[in-house]
Amino acid sequence: MTTVELTRPAERSRFARIGRVLLTPRAARITAPLLFLLVWQLVAPLIPSRILPMPSEVAEAMWEQLRDGTMVDAFSISILRLAAGFAIALVVGSVIGLAMGLSSRVEAFFHDFVIVGLTFPYLIWGLLVAMWFGFEGNGPLIVVVIAGLPYVILNMSEGVRDVSKDLRDMATSYEVPNGRVLQHLILPSLSPFFFASLRYGLANGWKGLVLAEVFAATSGAGYVINEMQEYGFFAGVIGFALWFALFSILVERLIFGRLSRRVFRWRSTTASAEKVRRVEPFEAMVD
Protein backbone atom coordinates (compact mmCIF):
# COMPACT_ATOMS: atom_id res chain seq x y z
CA MET A 1 0.00 0.00 0.00
CA THR A 2 1.36 3.36 -0.98
CA THR A 3 0.99 6.47 1.11
CA VAL A 4 0.91 9.93 -0.34
CA GLU A 5 3.90 12.11 0.42
CA LEU A 6 2.66 15.61 0.98
CA THR A 7 5.66 17.11 2.71
CA ARG A 8 9.39 17.44 2.39
CA PRO A 9 9.99 19.88 -0.43
CA ALA A 10 12.90 21.33 1.53
CA GLU A 11 15.16 18.39 0.98
CA ARG A 12 15.37 19.16 -2.69
CA SER A 13 16.36 22.80 -2.18
CA ARG A 14 19.81 24.24 -2.57
CA PHE A 15 20.22 24.74 1.14
CA ALA A 16 20.55 21.01 1.68
CA ARG A 17 24.24 21.36 1.00
CA ILE A 18 24.91 23.95 3.62
CA GLY A 19 23.92 21.71 6.44
CA ARG A 20 21.13 19.72 7.92
CA VAL A 21 20.90 22.08 10.85
CA LEU A 22 19.85 24.98 8.69
CA LEU A 23 16.82 23.04 7.58
CA THR A 24 15.19 22.84 10.96
CA PRO A 25 12.21 25.10 11.62
CA ARG A 26 14.09 26.62 14.52
CA ALA A 27 16.86 27.71 12.22
CA ALA A 28 14.27 29.09 9.85
CA ARG A 29 13.02 31.48 12.49
CA ILE A 30 16.46 32.98 12.69
CA THR A 31 17.26 32.71 9.01
CA ALA A 32 14.21 34.77 8.04
CA PRO A 33 15.09 38.02 9.81
CA LEU A 34 18.76 37.59 8.95
CA LEU A 35 17.88 37.19 5.29
CA PHE A 36 15.68 40.24 5.51
CA LEU A 37 18.52 42.27 7.00
CA LEU A 38 20.86 41.04 4.33
CA VAL A 39 18.54 42.03 1.49
CA TRP A 40 17.92 45.37 3.14
CA GLN A 41 21.63 46.01 3.53
CA LEU A 42 22.23 45.15 -0.11
CA VAL A 43 19.32 47.12 -1.57
CA ALA A 44 19.49 50.25 0.59
CA PRO A 45 22.67 51.77 -0.90
CA LEU A 46 21.04 51.64 -4.31
CA ILE A 47 18.10 53.76 -3.20
CA PRO A 48 18.34 57.35 -1.98
CA SER A 49 18.58 57.48 1.78
CA ARG A 50 15.56 59.66 2.11
CA ILE A 51 13.43 56.89 0.69
CA LEU A 52 15.03 53.81 2.17
CA PRO A 53 17.54 54.31 4.98
CA MET A 54 20.34 51.86 5.67
CA PRO A 55 19.99 49.39 8.53
CA SER A 56 22.76 51.16 10.39
CA GLU A 57 20.94 54.48 10.22
CA VAL A 58 17.81 52.87 11.56
CA ALA A 59 19.71 51.20 14.36
CA GLU A 60 21.19 54.54 15.31
CA ALA A 61 17.77 56.15 15.33
CA MET A 62 16.40 53.37 17.52
CA TRP A 63 19.20 53.79 19.99
CA GLU A 64 18.55 57.53 20.16
CA GLN A 65 14.87 56.98 20.75
CA LEU A 66 15.67 54.66 23.59
CA ARG A 67 18.32 56.91 25.09
CA ASP A 68 16.41 60.16 25.13
CA GLY A 69 13.26 58.54 26.45
CA THR A 70 11.12 59.17 23.38
CA MET A 71 10.26 55.56 22.95
CA VAL A 72 9.55 54.81 26.59
CA ASP A 73 7.50 57.97 27.10
CA ALA A 74 5.45 57.44 23.97
CA PHE A 75 4.69 53.80 24.64
CA SER A 76 3.96 54.40 28.32
CA ILE A 77 1.33 56.98 27.53
CA SER A 78 -0.21 54.78 24.87
CA ILE A 79 -0.25 51.75 27.15
CA LEU A 80 -1.95 53.76 29.87
CA ARG A 81 -4.63 54.91 27.49
CA LEU A 82 -5.04 51.35 26.27
CA ALA A 83 -5.39 49.97 29.78
CA ALA A 84 -7.89 52.58 30.88
CA GLY A 85 -9.96 52.35 27.72
CA PHE A 86 -9.95 48.59 27.69
CA ALA A 87 -11.00 48.39 31.32
CA ILE A 88 -14.12 50.31 30.36
CA ALA A 89 -14.66 48.17 27.27
CA LEU A 90 -14.30 45.03 29.37
CA VAL A 91 -16.85 46.05 31.96
CA VAL A 92 -19.42 47.44 29.56
CA GLY A 93 -18.81 44.72 26.99
CA SER A 94 -19.12 41.92 29.54
CA VAL A 95 -22.44 43.23 30.78
CA ILE A 96 -23.82 43.61 27.27
CA GLY A 97 -22.31 40.32 26.11
CA LEU A 98 -23.71 38.36 29.03
CA ALA A 99 -27.09 39.97 28.55
CA MET A 100 -27.02 39.11 24.86
CA GLY A 101 -26.11 35.52 25.60
CA LEU A 102 -28.94 35.15 28.07
CA SER A 103 -31.69 36.95 26.22
CA SER A 104 -32.57 36.71 22.55
CA ARG A 105 -34.32 40.08 22.80
CA VAL A 106 -31.19 41.85 23.94
CA GLU A 107 -29.29 40.01 21.25
CA ALA A 108 -31.66 41.26 18.58
CA PHE A 109 -31.31 44.80 19.90
CA PHE A 110 -27.52 44.96 19.80
CA HIS A 111 -26.63 42.51 17.05
CA ASP A 112 -26.40 44.88 14.12
CA PHE A 113 -24.42 47.43 16.11
CA VAL A 114 -21.85 44.81 16.96
CA ILE A 115 -21.53 43.89 13.29
CA VAL A 116 -21.07 47.50 12.28
CA GLY A 117 -18.65 47.96 15.15
CA LEU A 118 -16.55 45.16 13.74
CA THR A 119 -16.62 46.58 10.24
CA PHE A 120 -16.30 50.31 10.87
CA PRO A 121 -12.80 51.56 10.05
CA TYR A 122 -10.76 52.94 12.94
CA LEU A 123 -9.70 55.76 10.67
CA ILE A 124 -13.14 57.31 10.80
CA TRP A 125 -13.36 56.89 14.56
CA GLY A 126 -10.02 58.62 14.86
CA LEU A 127 -11.21 61.56 12.81
CA LEU A 128 -14.51 61.79 14.63
CA VAL A 129 -13.04 61.84 18.11
CA ALA A 130 -10.49 64.38 16.91
CA MET A 131 -13.38 66.69 16.08
CA TRP A 132 -15.26 65.91 19.26
CA PHE A 133 -12.46 66.00 21.77
CA GLY A 134 -9.71 68.00 20.12
CA PHE A 135 -6.04 67.33 20.72
CA GLU A 136 -5.91 67.32 24.47
CA GLY A 137 -8.94 65.26 25.28
CA ASN A 138 -9.80 61.63 25.78
CA GLY A 139 -10.28 60.90 22.10
CA PRO A 140 -7.77 58.04 21.87
CA LEU A 141 -9.15 56.44 25.02
CA ILE A 142 -12.67 56.54 23.60
CA VAL A 143 -11.46 54.87 20.42
CA VAL A 144 -9.99 52.05 22.50
CA VAL A 145 -13.42 51.51 24.01
CA ILE A 146 -15.13 51.57 20.63
CA ALA A 147 -12.59 49.27 18.97
CA GLY A 148 -12.45 46.74 21.77
CA LEU A 149 -16.12 46.63 22.70
CA PRO A 150 -17.42 44.44 19.84
CA TYR A 151 -14.80 41.77 20.53
CA VAL A 152 -15.56 41.66 24.23
CA ILE A 153 -19.30 41.50 23.55
CA LEU A 154 -18.96 38.78 20.94
CA ASN A 155 -16.80 36.55 23.07
CA MET A 156 -18.69 36.97 26.32
CA SER A 157 -22.04 36.29 24.70
CA GLU A 158 -20.67 33.18 23.08
CA GLY A 159 -19.22 32.14 26.42
CA VAL A 160 -22.58 32.35 28.11
CA ARG A 161 -24.23 30.29 25.42
CA ASP A 162 -21.48 27.74 25.72
CA VAL A 163 -21.96 26.92 29.37
CA SER A 164 -22.68 23.22 29.39
CA LYS A 165 -26.34 22.41 29.85
CA ASP A 166 -25.36 18.96 31.11
CA LEU A 167 -23.38 20.47 33.95
CA ARG A 168 -26.12 22.96 34.72
CA ASP A 169 -28.66 20.14 34.89
CA MET A 170 -26.36 18.22 37.18
CA ALA A 171 -26.17 21.21 39.50
CA THR A 172 -29.94 21.61 39.38
CA SER A 173 -30.52 17.96 40.21
CA TYR A 174 -28.27 18.29 43.25
CA GLU A 175 -29.93 21.59 44.21
CA VAL A 176 -26.61 23.38 44.33
CA PRO A 177 -27.10 26.99 45.50
CA ASN A 178 -26.81 29.69 42.82
CA GLY A 179 -23.77 31.34 44.31
CA ARG A 180 -21.81 28.12 44.10
CA VAL A 181 -23.02 27.48 40.57
CA LEU A 182 -21.79 30.90 39.56
CA GLN A 183 -18.43 30.51 41.25
CA HIS A 184 -17.60 26.93 40.29
CA LEU A 185 -19.53 26.36 37.10
CA ILE A 186 -20.31 29.52 35.19
CA LEU A 187 -17.24 31.64 35.81
CA PRO A 188 -14.67 28.89 35.09
CA SER A 189 -16.65 27.95 32.01
CA LEU A 190 -16.42 31.56 30.83
CA SER A 191 -12.70 31.91 31.34
CA PRO A 192 -11.50 30.84 27.88
CA PHE A 193 -13.96 33.30 26.36
CA PHE A 194 -12.84 35.95 28.79
CA PHE A 195 -9.32 35.39 27.56
CA ALA A 196 -10.38 35.64 23.96
CA SER A 197 -12.05 38.97 24.81
CA LEU A 198 -8.82 40.16 26.34
CA ARG A 199 -6.76 39.05 23.43
CA TYR A 200 -8.87 40.39 20.58
CA GLY A 201 -10.16 43.40 22.47
CA LEU A 202 -6.67 44.55 23.41
CA ALA A 203 -5.20 43.83 19.98
CA ASN A 204 -7.85 45.84 18.20
CA GLY A 205 -7.97 48.49 20.88
CA TRP A 206 -4.25 49.00 20.35
CA LYS A 207 -4.68 49.43 16.61
CA GLY A 208 -7.49 51.91 17.02
CA LEU A 209 -5.62 53.80 19.73
CA VAL A 210 -2.46 54.29 17.76
CA LEU A 211 -4.37 55.61 14.77
CA ALA A 212 -6.50 57.93 16.89
CA GLU A 213 -3.36 59.38 18.46
CA VAL A 214 -2.37 60.71 15.05
CA PHE A 215 -5.41 62.97 14.88
CA ALA A 216 -6.57 63.43 18.44
CA ALA A 217 -3.48 63.58 20.60
CA THR A 218 -0.15 65.31 21.12
CA SER A 219 1.61 62.34 22.66
CA GLY A 220 1.76 58.61 22.41
CA ALA A 221 3.26 56.05 20.04
CA GLY A 222 0.92 56.83 17.15
CA TYR A 223 1.44 60.55 17.43
CA VAL A 224 5.22 60.19 17.57
CA ILE A 225 5.60 57.95 14.57
CA ASN A 226 3.33 60.17 12.52
CA GLU A 227 5.28 63.25 13.54
CA MET A 228 8.50 61.65 12.42
CA GLN A 229 7.00 60.82 9.05
CA GLU A 230 5.73 64.35 8.59
CA TYR A 231 9.14 65.77 9.40
CA GLY A 232 10.73 63.39 6.96
CA PHE A 233 12.74 61.53 9.56
CA PHE A 234 12.57 58.24 7.75
CA ALA A 235 15.17 56.30 9.63
CA GLY A 236 13.25 57.25 12.76
CA VAL A 237 9.98 56.04 11.30
CA ILE A 238 11.37 52.62 10.51
CA GLY A 239 13.14 52.49 13.83
CA PHE A 240 9.95 53.29 15.68
CA ALA A 241 8.13 50.72 13.60
CA LEU A 242 10.61 48.16 14.87
CA TRP A 243 9.89 49.25 18.43
CA PHE A 244 6.23 48.55 17.64
CA ALA A 245 7.21 45.10 16.43
CA LEU A 246 9.20 44.41 19.57
CA PHE A 247 6.26 45.48 21.66
CA SER A 248 3.99 43.02 19.85
CA ILE A 249 6.41 40.16 20.33
CA LEU A 250 6.86 40.91 24.01
CA VAL A 251 3.16 41.05 24.70
CA GLU A 252 2.40 37.87 22.73
CA ARG A 253 5.15 35.78 24.26
CA LEU A 254 5.25 36.92 27.83
CA ILE A 255 1.72 37.87 28.72
CA PHE A 256 -0.57 35.70 26.69
CA GLY A 257 1.66 32.65 26.58
CA ARG A 258 2.40 32.49 30.28
CA LEU A 259 -0.99 33.54 31.52
CA SER A 260 -3.08 31.12 29.50
CA ARG A 261 -0.83 28.22 30.39
CA ARG A 262 -1.30 28.91 34.09
CA VAL A 263 -5.03 29.28 33.98
CA PHE A 264 -5.73 26.26 31.82
CA ARG A 265 -3.61 23.68 33.53
CA TRP A 266 -6.70 21.51 34.15
CA ARG A 267 -6.84 20.69 30.46
CA SER A 268 -5.39 17.28 29.89
CA THR A 269 -2.12 17.22 28.02
CA THR A 270 0.19 14.25 27.97
CA ALA A 271 2.63 16.34 29.96
CA SER A 272 0.29 17.06 32.83
CA ALA A 273 -1.16 13.56 32.87
CA GLU A 274 2.28 12.13 33.43
CA LYS A 275 2.61 14.13 36.61
CA VAL A 276 -0.27 12.21 38.18
CA ARG A 277 0.75 9.12 40.05
CA ARG A 278 0.46 6.17 37.74
CA VAL A 279 -2.81 4.45 38.54
CA GLU A 280 -3.32 0.73 38.19
CA PRO A 281 -5.80 -0.32 35.55
CA PHE A 282 -9.25 -0.86 36.98
CA GLU A 283 -9.42 -4.43 35.71
CA ALA A 284 -6.82 -5.39 38.28
CA MET A 285 -9.20 -4.38 41.04
CA VAL A 286 -12.19 -6.35 39.80
CA ASP A 287 -10.79 -9.83 40.32
Binding site: V4, A108, M131, K207
Partner: protein, 275 residues
Amino acid sequence: MATRTVPPQEAPAPGIETPTERPKPRLWAWRLAGYVLFIGAWVLLATYAFEVYILPSPTRVLAEMREILGKGDFWENFLATLQHLFIGFTIAYVVGTAIGIAMGRSSYWDGFFHDYVMLALTTPGLVFALICVMIFGLSTWAPIVAIVLTTFPHVTVNVVEGVRSIPRDLLDMASAYGVDRRTQLRHVILPAIAPFLFTAVRYGFAIAWKITALTELFGGSEGVGIQIRVKFELFNMAGVLAWAFFLVAFALIMERVVLQRLERRFFRWRPKAFA
Protein backbone atom coordinates in the same frame (compact mmCIF):
# COMPACT_ATOMS: atom_id res chain seq x y z
CA MET B 1 -26.07 26.51 22.49
CA ALA B 2 -28.74 24.77 24.53
CA THR B 3 -29.52 21.24 23.51
CA ARG B 4 -32.28 19.19 24.94
CA THR B 5 -32.43 15.55 25.76
CA VAL B 6 -35.46 15.05 23.54
CA PRO B 7 -36.32 11.57 22.32
CA PRO B 8 -36.34 11.13 18.54
CA GLN B 9 -39.01 13.11 16.73
CA GLU B 10 -42.28 11.32 16.04
CA ALA B 11 -45.69 12.27 14.79
CA PRO B 12 -47.88 13.16 17.77
CA ALA B 13 -50.67 10.80 18.68
CA PRO B 14 -54.10 12.02 17.52
CA GLY B 15 -56.14 14.20 19.79
CA ILE B 16 -53.31 15.76 21.75
CA GLU B 17 -53.86 19.26 22.97
CA THR B 18 -51.16 21.89 22.52
CA PRO B 19 -49.35 22.51 25.78
CA THR B 20 -48.93 26.11 26.83
CA GLU B 21 -45.50 27.52 26.16
CA ARG B 22 -44.27 31.12 26.29
CA PRO B 23 -45.04 32.87 23.00
CA LYS B 24 -41.95 33.54 20.82
CA PRO B 25 -40.55 37.02 21.52
CA ARG B 26 -41.03 39.46 18.68
CA LEU B 27 -37.37 39.87 17.93
CA TRP B 28 -37.69 42.13 14.92
CA ALA B 29 -39.30 44.72 17.18
CA TRP B 30 -36.28 44.75 19.42
CA ARG B 31 -33.99 45.07 16.45
CA LEU B 32 -35.98 48.00 15.19
CA ALA B 33 -35.95 49.55 18.63
CA GLY B 34 -32.17 49.55 18.48
CA TYR B 35 -32.11 51.54 15.28
CA VAL B 36 -34.78 53.94 16.46
CA LEU B 37 -32.86 54.60 19.65
CA PHE B 38 -29.64 55.16 17.74
CA ILE B 39 -31.05 57.55 15.18
CA GLY B 40 -33.11 59.30 17.81
CA ALA B 41 -30.07 59.85 19.99
CA TRP B 42 -28.09 61.10 17.02
CA VAL B 43 -30.75 63.63 16.02
CA LEU B 44 -31.16 64.87 19.59
CA LEU B 45 -27.45 65.28 20.21
CA ALA B 46 -26.85 66.91 16.83
CA THR B 47 -29.68 69.37 17.23
CA TYR B 48 -29.29 70.39 20.86
CA ALA B 49 -25.94 69.34 22.18
CA PHE B 50 -23.28 69.87 19.56
CA GLU B 51 -22.22 72.33 16.93
CA VAL B 52 -22.97 71.38 13.41
CA TYR B 53 -19.33 70.95 12.53
CA ILE B 54 -18.78 68.56 15.41
CA LEU B 55 -21.85 66.42 15.08
CA PRO B 56 -23.91 67.06 12.00
CA SER B 57 -27.46 65.80 11.95
CA PRO B 58 -28.43 62.86 9.78
CA THR B 59 -30.13 65.17 7.32
CA ARG B 60 -26.96 67.23 6.89
CA VAL B 61 -25.00 64.09 6.20
CA LEU B 62 -27.56 62.98 3.63
CA ALA B 63 -27.33 66.39 1.97
CA GLU B 64 -23.55 66.04 1.77
CA MET B 65 -23.89 62.61 0.29
CA ARG B 66 -26.18 63.92 -2.41
CA GLU B 67 -23.75 66.74 -3.13
CA ILE B 68 -20.79 64.40 -3.39
CA LEU B 69 -22.65 62.12 -5.73
CA GLY B 70 -23.69 65.08 -7.81
CA LYS B 71 -20.16 66.34 -8.30
CA GLY B 72 -18.25 64.78 -11.15
CA ASP B 73 -15.37 63.31 -9.24
CA PHE B 74 -17.20 60.82 -7.00
CA TRP B 75 -16.77 57.95 -9.39
CA GLU B 76 -13.21 58.93 -10.24
CA ASN B 77 -12.23 58.69 -6.61
CA PHE B 78 -14.27 55.64 -5.81
CA LEU B 79 -12.94 53.76 -8.79
CA ALA B 80 -9.37 54.77 -7.94
CA THR B 81 -9.84 53.27 -4.50
CA LEU B 82 -11.39 50.15 -5.96
CA GLN B 83 -8.46 49.86 -8.31
CA HIS B 84 -5.92 50.07 -5.48
CA LEU B 85 -8.01 47.67 -3.46
CA PHE B 86 -8.42 44.97 -6.04
CA ILE B 87 -4.89 45.06 -7.37
CA GLY B 88 -3.46 45.00 -3.87
CA PHE B 89 -5.86 42.35 -2.70
CA THR B 90 -5.20 40.07 -5.65
CA ILE B 91 -1.45 40.22 -5.14
CA ALA B 92 -1.92 39.73 -1.40
CA TYR B 93 -4.17 36.75 -2.01
CA VAL B 94 -1.82 35.02 -4.43
CA VAL B 95 1.21 35.65 -2.22
CA GLY B 96 -0.70 34.74 0.90
CA THR B 97 -1.97 31.49 -0.56
CA ALA B 98 1.45 30.47 -1.83
CA ILE B 99 3.04 31.15 1.54
CA GLY B 100 0.15 29.49 3.32
CA ILE B 101 0.52 26.31 1.33
CA ALA B 102 4.25 26.30 1.96
CA MET B 103 3.73 26.85 5.68
CA GLY B 104 1.07 24.22 5.90
CA ARG B 105 3.08 21.56 4.16
CA SER B 106 6.51 22.21 5.55
CA SER B 107 7.49 22.95 9.10
CA TYR B 108 10.58 24.70 7.76
CA TRP B 109 8.59 27.36 5.93
CA ASP B 110 6.27 27.52 8.88
CA GLY B 111 9.22 28.50 11.03
CA PHE B 112 10.47 30.90 8.38
CA PHE B 113 7.34 32.97 7.95
CA HIS B 114 5.75 32.48 11.32
CA ASP B 115 7.18 35.52 13.07
CA TYR B 116 6.42 37.94 10.27
CA VAL B 117 2.86 36.69 10.01
CA MET B 118 2.39 37.17 13.73
CA LEU B 119 3.90 40.66 13.57
CA ALA B 120 1.82 41.72 10.62
CA LEU B 121 -1.31 40.56 12.39
CA THR B 122 -0.64 42.55 15.54
CA THR B 123 1.09 45.68 14.23
CA PRO B 124 -1.24 48.60 13.63
CA GLY B 125 -2.00 49.38 10.00
CA LEU B 126 -0.84 52.94 10.64
CA VAL B 127 2.76 51.78 10.76
CA PHE B 128 2.54 50.07 7.40
CA ALA B 129 0.70 52.99 5.85
CA LEU B 130 3.30 55.51 6.98
CA ILE B 131 6.22 53.42 5.83
CA CYS B 132 4.71 52.81 2.42
CA VAL B 133 3.87 56.47 1.96
CA MET B 134 7.40 57.27 2.97
CA ILE B 135 8.92 54.94 0.45
CA PHE B 136 6.48 55.24 -2.43
CA GLY B 137 5.25 58.78 -2.02
CA LEU B 138 2.06 59.72 -3.76
CA SER B 139 2.12 56.97 -6.35
CA THR B 140 -0.42 54.20 -6.53
CA TRP B 141 2.17 51.79 -5.21
CA ALA B 142 1.87 53.11 -1.68
CA PRO B 143 -1.61 51.72 -1.00
CA ILE B 144 -0.97 48.61 -3.04
CA VAL B 145 2.18 47.61 -1.17
CA ALA B 146 0.57 48.50 2.14
CA ILE B 147 -2.36 46.25 1.30
CA VAL B 148 -0.09 43.39 0.36
CA LEU B 149 2.00 43.65 3.52
CA THR B 150 -0.98 43.82 5.87
CA THR B 151 -3.40 41.49 4.10
CA PHE B 152 -1.37 38.49 3.04
CA PRO B 153 -0.93 37.25 6.64
CA HIS B 154 -4.68 37.04 7.09
CA VAL B 155 -4.92 35.01 3.89
CA THR B 156 -1.98 32.87 4.95
CA VAL B 157 -3.43 32.03 8.35
CA ASN B 158 -6.60 30.69 6.81
CA VAL B 159 -4.84 28.80 4.04
CA VAL B 160 -2.54 27.14 6.58
CA GLU B 161 -5.55 25.96 8.52
CA GLY B 162 -7.03 24.65 5.29
CA VAL B 163 -3.92 22.74 4.35
CA ARG B 164 -3.68 21.24 7.81
CA SER B 165 -7.27 20.07 7.58
CA ILE B 166 -6.81 18.11 4.37
CA PRO B 167 -8.12 14.69 5.31
CA ARG B 168 -5.14 12.39 5.13
CA ASP B 169 -7.31 9.40 5.73
CA LEU B 170 -9.27 10.17 2.59
CA LEU B 171 -6.05 10.57 0.61
CA ASP B 172 -4.76 7.26 1.95
CA MET B 173 -8.03 5.68 0.93
CA ALA B 174 -7.67 7.17 -2.55
CA SER B 175 -4.14 5.83 -2.88
CA ALA B 176 -5.24 2.42 -1.71
CA TYR B 177 -7.74 2.44 -4.58
CA GLY B 178 -5.00 3.56 -6.97
CA VAL B 179 -6.53 6.94 -7.72
CA ASP B 180 -4.03 9.16 -9.59
CA ARG B 181 -2.64 12.35 -8.09
CA ARG B 182 -4.54 14.68 -10.36
CA THR B 183 -7.91 13.21 -9.49
CA GLN B 184 -7.00 13.31 -5.82
CA LEU B 185 -6.23 16.98 -6.19
CA ARG B 186 -9.51 17.70 -7.87
CA HIS B 187 -11.84 15.65 -5.70
CA VAL B 188 -10.18 15.52 -2.31
CA ILE B 189 -7.67 18.30 -1.81
CA LEU B 190 -9.36 21.19 -3.55
CA PRO B 191 -12.81 20.69 -2.01
CA ALA B 192 -11.18 20.28 1.38
CA ILE B 193 -9.34 23.58 1.26
CA ALA B 194 -11.92 25.51 -0.76
CA PRO B 195 -13.87 26.73 2.29
CA PHE B 196 -10.67 28.01 3.84
CA LEU B 197 -9.70 29.75 0.63
CA PHE B 198 -13.06 31.43 0.79
CA THR B 199 -12.70 32.46 4.40
CA ALA B 200 -9.30 33.85 3.47
CA VAL B 201 -11.01 36.09 0.94
CA ARG B 202 -13.43 37.38 3.55
CA TYR B 203 -10.88 38.13 6.22
CA GLY B 204 -8.36 39.46 3.73
CA PHE B 205 -10.89 41.75 2.17
CA ALA B 206 -11.99 43.02 5.56
CA ILE B 207 -8.54 44.38 6.27
CA ALA B 208 -7.61 45.37 2.74
CA TRP B 209 -10.24 48.03 2.19
CA LYS B 210 -9.45 49.72 5.49
CA ILE B 211 -5.75 49.90 4.72
CA THR B 212 -6.54 51.27 1.27
CA ALA B 213 -8.44 54.20 2.69
CA LEU B 214 -5.82 54.75 5.39
CA THR B 215 -2.85 54.82 3.04
CA GLU B 216 -4.66 57.05 0.60
CA LEU B 217 -5.37 59.46 3.41
CA PHE B 218 -1.72 59.82 4.29
CA GLY B 219 -0.35 59.97 0.82
CA GLY B 220 -2.59 59.71 -2.15
CA SER B 221 -3.66 61.81 -5.05
CA GLU B 222 -6.89 60.06 -5.81
CA GLY B 223 -9.25 57.90 -3.86
CA VAL B 224 -11.75 57.88 -1.04
CA GLY B 225 -9.02 58.26 1.57
CA ILE B 226 -7.79 61.53 0.14
CA GLN B 227 -11.33 62.88 -0.11
CA ILE B 228 -11.91 62.10 3.54
CA ARG B 229 -8.75 63.97 4.42
CA VAL B 230 -9.82 66.99 2.40
CA LYS B 231 -13.20 67.11 4.13
CA PHE B 232 -11.54 66.69 7.52
CA GLU B 233 -9.10 69.51 6.96
CA LEU B 234 -12.00 71.76 5.95
CA PHE B 235 -13.74 70.83 9.23
CA ASN B 236 -16.55 69.39 7.16
CA MET B 237 -17.63 66.54 9.45
CA ALA B 238 -20.75 65.94 7.44
CA GLY B 239 -18.48 65.37 4.46
CA VAL B 240 -16.29 62.98 6.40
CA LEU B 241 -19.33 61.03 7.53
CA ALA B 242 -20.76 61.05 4.02
CA TRP B 243 -17.66 59.50 2.51
CA ALA B 244 -17.42 57.12 5.45
CA PHE B 245 -20.93 55.99 4.76
CA PHE B 246 -20.16 55.24 1.13
CA LEU B 247 -17.08 53.33 2.11
CA VAL B 248 -18.66 51.33 4.90
CA ALA B 249 -21.78 50.63 2.86
CA PHE B 250 -19.65 49.23 0.08
CA ALA B 251 -17.68 47.10 2.51
CA LEU B 252 -20.78 45.82 4.29
CA ILE B 253 -22.44 44.88 1.04
CA MET B 254 -19.35 43.06 -0.12
CA GLU B 255 -18.65 41.33 3.18
CA ARG B 256 -22.08 40.52 4.48
CA VAL B 257 -24.14 40.19 1.38
CA VAL B 258 -22.00 39.08 -1.53
CA LEU B 259 -19.31 37.01 0.13
CA GLN B 260 -21.31 35.49 2.91
CA ARG B 261 -24.15 34.48 0.59
CA LEU B 262 -21.71 32.94 -1.87
CA GLU B 263 -20.03 31.08 0.92
CA ARG B 264 -23.27 29.68 2.21
CA ARG B 265 -24.34 28.56 -1.24
CA PHE B 266 -21.15 26.82 -2.18
CA PHE B 267 -20.41 25.23 1.13
CA ARG B 268 -23.72 23.89 2.34
CA TRP B 269 -22.20 20.54 3.18
CA ARG B 270 -19.98 21.96 5.89
CA PRO B 271 -21.27 20.85 9.30
CA LYS B 272 -20.06 23.85 11.23
CA ALA B 273 -19.98 27.45 10.07
CA PHE B 274 -16.68 29.25 10.55
CA ALA B 275 -17.23 32.67 12.02
